[in-house]
């Protein structure tokens, strides 16, 4: 694989998918829609992840982990302010069953189990959206915010962001060995 990025436009059922050569994408991940989907290097897409680009494009950064049954991309027609689609930064972990429709998710965020992020929401860097938490449409969450419990928020000044990013990197390495990858299927 000489070129780092290879864009190939597929017929109608498959969305235009571009990815770095060293990503891990499971065979039975589901990619639907018509807008382009791009995944950065080192990212892991688990089986049964649903990437839906019917309404807007999806951009996933490097070293991200997108878990099973999570739904990325707009699930309904976008509102006026969300034209660039869903942008997920580097080192983001989206856990099982989370629904991400956000406009932007910053670097090193963790979206926990069954959390929901509404359309047009902007989430800063190194945030954590706790399990089952919801972020409303168009909400803007600053850097280092932790959303937990019943919509409670606090700003975390722990200063261990680098450590966490490194941990995500190690997790990706383990997952590379565990998940059989088949990027060719989607191209």
């Amino acid at each position: 694989m000489a070129s780092s990025k290879r864009v190939s436009i597929m017929p109608a059922p498959k969305p235009p998918f571009s990815c770095a050569p060293n990503i891990v994408i499971a065979d039975n991940a589901s990619l639907t829609g018509t807008h382009p989907i791009s995944v950065g290097p080192q990212s892991v897409i688990h089986p049964r992840t649903k990437l839906n680009s019917t309404y807007a494009p999806i951009t996933i950064g490097s070293s991200c982990i997108i878990s099973e049954r999570s739904m990325i991309g707009l699930q309904s027609a976008p509102s006026d302010y969300q034209t660039k689609g869903v942008v997920i930064g580097n080192g983001v972990v989206v856990e099982v069953g989370a629904v991400v429709e956000a406009m932007e998710i910053g670097e090193g965020c963790v979206i926990e189990v069954n959390a929901r992020i509404g359309k047009g929401a902007v989430i800063g860097k190194h945030c954590k959206i706790g399990a089952m938490c919801e972020v409303a449409e168009g909400d803007v969450i600053g850097d280092f915010t932790v959303v937990y419990a019943n919509g409670m928020r606090r700003v975390d000044r722990g200063g261990v962001e680098d450590l966490k990013l490194r941990m995500v990197g190690r997790q990706v390495e383990v997952l590379r060995k565990l998940i059989p990858s088949n990027p060719a299927k989607f191209q």
Partner: protein, 593 residues
């Protein structure tokens, strides 16, 4: 409106509230003569005191010796052991007394979100081959996995990953060490010595010296103990260090209280005047500085909403902090395992295994094993819409009550209700079959085999109404005096209810037209018809008196060991048992017009 679920509450006979309450509230039955007759009294589930005697069946115990239901109010609790819910270590009662009811090992809760904290090293984990075998080192912090709080935020780092409680007790927020009690005592002694030598007045009033809460308390305590000891070895109050109620001073004071004479009053007065108050920081005096509140306001301004504790967070802390930076990790509260005894016969009703990890019970006499369970469901399955589930006033509605027998003997059940439910809005209630027999809770296989075996024996004799009902798809009519359905160890009967009208004004008029009794009732308590509909007054609650009779094996009963010994030769002897109690059936909500 929230969906209404039918419920059954059982009244524990330990509190016979019906008589006194009803007379007090004025929610009495038709006539006062009836009240005197014990059998005629109806239990009023709406009486304010009824709340304290009604329990779901699962909350009740059963005393095998008294043959009676026991509720949480008529059992005695005994603590079997204390344990930490986090580390599941048993804490001896002596250390609970000396160190309080919190885990003194390493179990802490997050002060922000109450999730358990875990300890981790601030150093990045070692990498490379065999990294997992390398022991982590360096300063440790407490981390909350849920809200990502870490003790770094309050400036606390620990040296060891274990015995955190002891380590935390030595560190203030910010990392400064606390003065240990021993150290504090030493300093106090030293300072006192200096003060006596110099006799300087600057020592006595030292408002600038700031003490932390613990030091201040220790100083104050030491000071007052000293004062008490000086004023008299056994002072009037008798608080010589310990709460010495047994001291002569305290005794004389108590005697004085009872006899009215001034037993030791003069002495105590003269002595108490000798006591002085704390005068210096050494003695625990802290002068509140006028700028303190300004300081906290300034701090509030600087830290903002984010830096301020919520009420819940403040309440969880011992020192009532205002700011997030003053919070401290909360040690886990200990829990107890308790055994329960019957209050009347002192027999143990429930005893858990004393080992903390073991969730089994050694003894557990729970009421569901002795008392028939009652389930309610409407006879006609209604539409699913919540509005339609409401009971229409004045339209007869039928409910099926299913009694299931947990005992291994056949039981005879008789049930009774007042014709009209007590309270402001009396609904008419009719039980179509008030007496019936419920089969024993025998082995399911026994029954199946018996039925297979040519229908001989008890199973064959029984009415097979159940199959009949199934065949006609529930179209049959409920007949008076007959059981609706019957199974192995259960019987269902039909109750017909005519819900009352919930209009306050109309109720009065309607009642007047009705029976004379009710007119009397109105005269008796006219005030209770006034006022709007109270909370949950639209729920139709039916008080039901249940009497269960059965014949039990005497030999089976442990309590009747003596009797069993006497009747050793004829083991077949049966004993008649009876259990009678009130239940409340919450049937449904009555629709408002």
């Amino acid at each position: 409106m929230a969906e209404f679920k039918p419920y059954t509450y059982f009244q524990c006979p330990c509190t016979d509230t019906s008589f006194s309450t009803r007379r007090r509230i004025g929610d009495s039955g038709p006539s006062s003569e009836e009240e005197t007759d014990e059998d005629e009294r109806t239990f009023d589930p709406r009486a304010p005191r009824a709340n304290y005697s009604l329990y779901p069946l699962e909350h009740l115990l059963y005393c095998e010796d008294c043959h009676q239901i026991r509720c949480p109010r008529c059992v005695l609790d005994e603590i079997v052991c204390w344990y930490c819910p986090n580390c599941l270590f048993e804490v001896p009662s002596s250390s609970v007394k000396s160190e309080g009811n919190r885990c003194t090992r390493s179990c802490f809760q997050c002060p922000i979100c109450t999730a358990p904290l875990s300890i981790s090293s601030t150093e990045s984990p070692p990498e490379g081959l065999g990294a997992e075998y390398v022991a982590q080192s360096g300063p440790y912090v407490l981390n909350c996995a849920y809200c990502l709080w870490s003790s770094k935020e309050i400036g606390i780092q620990l040296e060891k990953p274990n015995s955190i409680y002891a380590q935390l007790a030595k560190i203030k927020n910010g990392g400064e060490p606390y003065i240990s009690p021993k150290e504090r005592r030493r300093i106090r002694e030293e300072r006192k010595g200096d003060g006596e030598e110099s006799q300087g007045s600057e020592m006595t009033l030292d408002p600038n010296e700031k003490l932390d809460a613990e030091s201040q308390f220790a100083n104050l305590k030491a000071f007052y103990q000293e004062q008490l000891a000086e004023s008299s070895p056994a002072s009037a109050l008798g608080f010589t260090g310990d709460y010495g109620y047994g001291s002569p001073g305290a005794l004389s004071r108590i005697m004085g209280l009872y006899t009215g004479s001034s037993f030791g009053d003069k002495k105590s007065k003269s002595r108490s005047s000798m006591m002085r108050e704390a005068q210096s920081a050494l003695e625990g005096l802290q002068i509140s500085s006028p700028s303190a509140s300004e300081e906290s306001i300034a701090r509030l301004r600087a830290s903002g909403w984010e830096g301020t504790c919520s009420t819940a967070q403040r309440l969880a802390q011992a020192h009532n902090p205002r700011f997030v930076s003053d919070l401290r990790p909360i040690a886990h509260l200990l829990r107890t395992k308790r055994s329960k005894r019957c209050k009347t016969c002192r027999h143990i009703l429930s005893k858990p295994e004393s080992k903390v990890q073991n969730t089994r019970f050694r003894i557990r006499l729970v009421a569901p094993n002795y008392v028939p369970r009652i389930a309610i469901r409407p006879l006609q399955p209604g539409p699913a819409a919540p509005q339609a589930l409401l009971l229409t006033p004045l339209r007869p509605t039928q409910f099926v009550l299913t009694f299931s027998n947990p005992l291994f003997d056949d039981v005879r059940v008789s049930i009774a209700t007042p014709a009209k439910t007590p309270g402001r809005f009396g609904s008419r209630v009719t039980i179509l079959c008030p007496q019936f027999e419920v089969g024993a809770n025998t082995d399911v296989w026994d029954e199946a085999l018996r039925e297979g075996g040519a229908g001989a024996g008890k199973g064959g004799e029984r009415e097979k109404r159940r199959t009949k009902a199934e065949a006609s798809e529930g179209q049959q009519q409920a007949e008076a005096g007959k059981v609706w359905e019957r199974g192995r160890n259960w019987v269902s009967v039909v109750v017909e209810v005519v819900p009352a009208v919930l209009k306050v004004g109309e109720e009065e008029k309607k009642d007047e037209k009705e029976e004379e009794e009710e007119q009397e009732e109105e005269e008796g308590g006219g005030s209770r018809y006034a006022g709007p509909l109270r909370e949950d007054e639209d729920i139709l609650e039916i008080p039901v008196f249940v009497r269960v009779e059965w014949e039990a094996d005497v030999a089976q009963d442990e309590g009747a060991g003596l009797a069993a010994a006497n009747n050793k030769d004829n083991k077949e002897e049966k004993e008649k048992r009876e259990l009678a109690y009130w239940c409340v059936l919450g049937v449904g909500r009555i629709a408002r017009d």
